[in-house]
């Protein structure tokens, strides 16, 4: 996991109508599916919506393999829930519950497959804007997000280093020896980062100082 290439894991570049539609519209779609999953009472309707959304996903050109990959992580637990609810509540209800979850998962995947990560993050950062009058600072929020992203490879690297040195000392089965050093180096790293931010005149609240 060098760099932050892993962040591109979900995005599939393209120029489809789905790609070109604005972020808020795609977000509304996800939201609407979330609401609908509480309202839809008939499993056949859920199935239709699911087919429709899969169609939209494929229309974006992201490909069937991506669709499968997006859904696969939830399948085992959905299978378990489906079987359990079939026994408890009967076939149609179990199908509706499982299909509704799938609807939401596919809708969310459409959003992440067709929106570049940077645009998603800008979207998140802009969430702070309406709260500015209550003391929120969108710039500091965006800065914190950026620092977090650049720190993930550091943390991953720290875990790898610590695992190796624990192995060298025969401590690879000691969870404390595996986790504590990562947190210690990370706190030191966080402090250096804070100091570097301050030295560059960044990160402190706007109203502070002279």
């Amino acid at each position: 996991m060098s760099g932050h290439g892993f962040l591109l894991a979900n995005y599939v570049p393209g120029g489809s109508p789905v790609h070109r539609s604005p972020l808020w519209l795609k977000f509304l779609l996800v939201l609407a599916c979330g609401m609908a999953s509480f309202l839809i009472a008939d499993w056949a309707v859920s199935a239709c919506v699911l087919v429709l959304l899969c169609g939209v996903f494929l229309l974006s050109g992201a490909g069937a393999a991506r669709l499968v990959r997006a859904v696969r992580p939830v399948l085992p637990v959905l299978a378990a829930i489906g079987l359990f609810q079939w026994w408890q509540l009967g076939g149609p209800t179990a199908a509706r519950i499982v299909l509704n979850v799938l609807v939401c998962v596919v809708a969310a995947s459409i959003l992440t497959a067709t929106t570049p990560v940077q645009e998603l993050l800008d979207g998140v950062a802009s969430l702070a804007r309406p709260f500015r009058r209550f003391g929120a600072d969108p710039e500091r929020f965006a800065l914190t997000i950026a620092i977090m992203l650049r720190s993930i490879p550091f943390v991953a690297g720290a875990y790898a280093d610590v695992r190796n040195s624990a192995r060298a000392r025969g401590l690879e089965r000691n969870p404390r020896a595996l986790v504590l050093p990562v947190f210690i180096t990370s706190v030191a790293f966080a402090r250096q980062t804070g100091e570097a931010l301050a030295a560059r005149g960044l990160g402190d609240a706007e109203d502070q100082g002279s």
Binding site: H4, I147, R150, E195, A196
Partner: protein, 242 residues
């Protein structure tokens, strides 16, 4: 630009000890030369001295002023004028890529995004880093990272550049590159180092020992003084001498 330290002391309270530990002891200095070096052993107070100049450390008593601005009361004005480069560029570069990091430096001073982008590009180009602008900072070499940290700090054009052991993590070739880069800067430079070659490039060198300036003057004399200080009292047990 004139930097004045007036009877500055820095003391640290340590758990379980009644008296505070003294990091810097009643220092009075006027720093006006274009190239100033600070040398001294680990723990002699070099980093603390440099951090005072940018307001990262506040004096426990006395005061520090940069071009008339107090580093505690007008910390913002001070930081606009004093750029700071850390030993480890990875702790200094806060954004995932070089371009973003340089643009971050410019965020306060340049409001127009297009103008900011152009300025960032010219800052990167100055150090030959434009081709690496969109690479992750983790994919750069140590030398490239240190240059990038320098580029990001210089992008806002500070009058003074403070560097804390800038060559410690570099190999010989990158050290040489850094020396030449520093020599070509128009800024006033104040740096700490263990690299005596780099110290010799300075106009004035301070030797610190246990929080006190024990020598202040020409580089060659300072280095000689430092060597004498380091070897005094160094007596290895007979069996372990090489």
């Amino acid at each position: 630009m004139s930097i004045i330290l007036d009877r500055v002391a820095v003391r640290v309270a340590v758990d379980g000890r009644p008296a505070p530990k003294i990091l810097l002891d009643e220092l009075s200095l006027e720093l006006v030369e274009r190239r100033i070096g600070v040398i001294g052993a680990n723990g002699s107070g070099k980093s603390t001295l440099l951090r005072l100049l940018n307001g990262l450390v506040a004096p426990s008593s006395g005061n520090v002023t940069v071009a008339g601005y107090d580093t505690v009361r007008s910390v913002r004005d001070v930081r606009r004028r004093v750029g700071f480069v850390f030993t480890d560029p990875l702790s200094q570069l806060v954004m995932p890529t070089g371009r973003e990091d340089v643009e971050l430096s410019l965020r306060r001073s340049v409001r127009n995004p297009r103008e900011r982008r152009a300025l960032a590009e010219s800052a990167l180009a100055r150090f030959g880093l434009l081709a690496l602008a969109d690479q992750s900072i983790y994919e750069l070499s140590g030398g490239e990272r240190q240059l990038l940290a320098l580029a990001a700090v210089l992008a806002v054009d500070p009058a003074v550049l403070v560097l804390d052991e800038p060559s410690t993590l570099l190999d010989l070739r990158n050290r040489e590159l850094l020396r030449r880069t520093i020599a070509g800067l128009s800024q006033q430079v104040i740096l700490s180092t263990h690299d005596l070659e780099l110290a010799r490039d300075m106009d004035r060198v301070l030797v610190l020992d246990a929080g006190k300036v024990v020598f202040d003057g020409a580089p060659d004399d300072a280095v000689a003084q430092y060597r004498a200080l380091c070897t005094a009292g160094l007596e290895l047990p007979a069996g372990e001498q090489k």
